[in-house]
């Protein structure tokens, strides 16, 4: 059976509404007032872009919303999307001292959204144009979070920037790849407009390597930033993979961003292969689009799944089902359509390797299969663009972590294409770091900050990575704290 349309317009809109709706002004102020305004706050250190969190929260409670948004956006130009998509429970909120007082952490993400929305809704001008122009020009390949973060910082430092994006719109996965109910396409595009308002030129529909050659960019620009992200989803390499109802998770999610919500067809029985955050997004989207069953198929056990606990919770709440310790061995088809999966059981061998148990095959009926096995690296494309560029063994761009500089001095890189696949906030942080390194290369000047008042005076303490330099990944907490909230 081909995929079908299951929802009317209203139901689709309801199902795809943002998971965490916007705070009312009262809710925001009450939540902001809970924040203790910690000194040398741990939440800042756990933010990969080093946002002065107590600073922006304090401004919400005084009603200084433009100032609050300015504090956020100065550190993180994509503060609005990060507010919605960051895995806050392992970043800022996971470090909040409230947890130590046995209370829910301050809802930093939702407050951040509240402040940044104010700017979008009221067209507030946040940034002044740079004091002087350097005359230097930087080309950025790819228009995703990494390049946007890099270009915004460069523009504020007085350099001209041009972003080349192959798709119709910039924003990268923010525009096309993040679950719609976390971040709408509109929000991502508004954010792109904010970046543009800094004087950044974005040439969309231009693929570097095809519509324009990397060589030309090297000639025309003083530096290049590579923010190309990652490529297609890995193949299953099993028979039946070519059937029309076998799709990549990313394509499936993208359909929701480029079509009216109720015009995205889905299967009645959907299998999702893989159990990372992308798989969770895909299975959740399938359920929300009206699939009767949406089942994650994962070769290991529940405890081993790479998805965040709160993502897993979302999927479970949406009624997703899970088959653990199983791998697909064949997509079963009939009359040119998917009718099921042949699966085999797995077990952990003595040597710690995962083995398929011979003779354990079984079949389950499905009419749609979504592949969510992770994304391929852009090795060939990068080699084609810059034959001398050094790549790491796993195919990501080799670069100096603190600066993003590659083996070719005027070429920098950041984001998924360099870190192998992380979060939006890491991409922005890396873009920003690279921008500062490029600025130093141009001018010899070192840029730091924004000044974190909260660290001044910490003299005799062992240095702890503050935001940008060394963000901290907080271990996920036991569920006692997640009760009642994310």
């Amino acid at each position: 059976m081909p995929r079908e349309l299951m929802l009317d317009e209203k139901t689709a809109a309801r199902n795809m509404a943002e998971i965490e709706p916007k705070y009312s002004s009262q809710e925001a102020v009450v939540e902001a007032n809970r924040c203790l305004y910690c000194f040398d706050a741990p939440c800042i250190m756990a933010c990969p872009t080093g946002i002065d969190i107590p600073g922006f929260i304090k401004k919400i409670s005084s009603g200084n919303l433009a100032g609050s948004a300015r504090t956020i956006l100065k550190s993180n130009i994509l503060g609005a999307s990060c507010a919605r998509v960051c895995p806050t429970s392992v970043l800022c909120e996971g470090a909040c001292v409230m947890l130590d007082r046995d209370e829910l952490p301050i809802k930093i993400g939702r407050l951040q959204r509240y402040a940044t929305d104010y700017v979008f809704e009221n067209d507030v001008k946040i940034f002044d144009p740079p004091k002087k122009k350097s005359g230097k020009r930087v080309a950025l390949i790819g228009g995703g979070p990494a390049s946007l973060g890099c270009a915004a910082e460069l523009a504020q430092l007085g350099h001209d920037t041009v972003i080349f994006e192959k798709k119709e719109h910039a924003g990268g996965l923010n525009t096309y790849g993040i679950a719609y109910y976390k971040l709408t396409t509109e929000t991502s595009l508004k954010e792109v407009e904010l970046v543009k308002s800094l004087g950044i030129e974005i040439r969309t529909g231009v693929e570097v390597g095809k519509d324009i050659q990397a060589k030309e960019l090297e000639q025309e620009f003083d530096a290049i930033f590579i923010g190309v992200g990652l490529g297609h989803t890995y193949k299953l390499d099993i028979p039946g993979e070519d059937l029309p109802e076998v799709v990549e998770a990313l394509e499936f999610i993208e359909e929701l961003h480029v079509n009216p919500l109720h015009e995205v067809p889905v299967g009645r029985r959907v299998a999702v292969i893989g159990c990372g955050n992308t798989a969770i997004d895909a299975v959740t989207q399938a359920k929300r689009l009206g699939a009767e069953h949406a089942v994650i198929i994962y070769r290991r056990g529940e405890k081993d799944m790479p998805a965040y606990a709160y993502e897993y919770d979302i999927a479970k709440k949406d009624g997703a089902e899970f088959v653990f310790h199983a791998v697909p061995v064949e997509v079963l088809g009939k009359d040119g359509h998917v009718v099921g999966l042949k699966l085999a059981r797995t077990e952990m061998g003595e040597d710690g390797r995962l083995n398929v148990i011979p003779g354990s095959e079984f079949e389950l009926p499905f009419d749609m299969v979504i592949k969510a096995l992770g994304q391929e690296k852009m090795t060939d494309m990068l080699k084609g663009m810059f034959p001398d560029l050094e790549l790491a063994r796993n195919g990501v761009i080799q670069r100096e972590p603190a600066t993003g500089q590659t083996n070719i001095p005027h070429i920098f890189a950041g984001g998924d294409g360099a870190n192998g696949g992380s979060e939006v906030v890491n991409a922005v942080g890396e873009g920003k770091k690279a921008a500062r390194a490029i600025h130093r290369m141009f001018t010899g000047e070192t840029v730091e900050g924004p000044v974190q008042w909260t660290r001044i005076g910490v003299v005799n303490a062992k240095p702890v990575g503050s935001g940008l330099d060394n963000p901290i990944r907080v271990p996920e907490l036991e569920t006692t704290y997640s009760a009642g909230g994310k």
Partner: protein, 438 residues
Amino acid sequence: MADLSINLAGIKSPNPFWVASAPPSNTAYQCHRAFEAGWGGVVWKTIGEPIVNVSSRYSSIDINGSRMIGLNNIELITDRSPETNFREIKECKERWPDRAIIASLMTDSRESWHDYMKQSADAGADGVELNFGCPHGMCERGMGSAVGQNPDVIETIVGWVMEAAEIPVIVKLTPNITDITYPARAARRAGANAISLINTVKSVTQVDLERMCPEPYVAGKSTPGGYCGPAVKPIALSMVQECASHPEVGLPISGIGGIANWKDAAEFIALGSTSVQVCTAIMHYGFRIVEDMIEGLNDYLDRAGFASVNDLRGKAVDTVQRWESLDLNYKRIASIDYDKCIGCNLCYIACEDGAHQAIALVDPDQKGVGLGPGRLPGRPVPEIKEKECVGCNLCSLVCPVHECITMIDVDNGKEKMSWSDYQEKVAKGEMEPIPAHP
């Protein structure tokens, strides 16, 4: 069960909790509701020549989301006729003979004071309260705080009142004065039977920055109002204590100002009040709050071993002394309980920027401090520099965790020495002056 009943200058009530003269004591209807809820007494909304109020009468201060920390009003005395008020007092007294009803009065001429005194007694009121406190409106007409701010005028008017007094007279004082014992002493000299304090504090709570006009907004203008509620409690407590301590005042006291629960009330009583009066807390939550007051005070008295609320009265008065009598050799320092500390470092920054630079941020590993779930590895923890700590209490006030920073007494082996002792010793050459702080 401790005995909660009191007798203030002859006015008896089954417990010390009285409704203050204000909107909650406007009518017989409210008076019945108050007594039904358990209040021991009601001071009737001030009676006088009926006035006309403006619309928009209150404004308030919220702090960090807590509503009405302080309330401001520009309301005048009752807008109902004396006849109505006295008739209703009579009705209420007949229905609630065991409770105290006090008529609050405000007028100008000697004759009319005499007239109101007679009508109060005839209505069966247990006493009267003279409102010399209202800091807005009435003072422009030579009444309220215009009287309360001038001890000579107080003495004259109280003198008139006493000429016609058949029932106890309480003088209600305004805090809008430099030394509260002046009007208190004037009341005493004129023969008043008791004092009550405080009335409201003259105030402007906020300015609306769009309209460029303070609140409460009345057709483009505003006027300073009277401030009350939790925010004024410390001012009221201090004034009550000053009157309780002053040998020339020596009158029973009805304590008023920011009382919202039994603990506030017990504090007023410990500093010398016989009864306490409540307005804002009732305006915020209704008469039902008295339940916690009665129960809480009772349990406290039992716990503390007081058989009667009268045994608590004034118990803390003698501990409040002039600064010069305090022991300069007493030493306390801050101490952090690391099992409770959540790592907000507010103590550090408070002491560093706002006090005596006596807290360091140190390596948690060196200190052997365990990490809680929200704490980042390696993040510095506060440590008290015991030598530098002057024991000011600031960090313990700032710390958001209950009993995480405690102030502990340090035995420095030194004998008690007050400022006066110190002056004397230095004068006699028995000791060197203490060197100034570096």
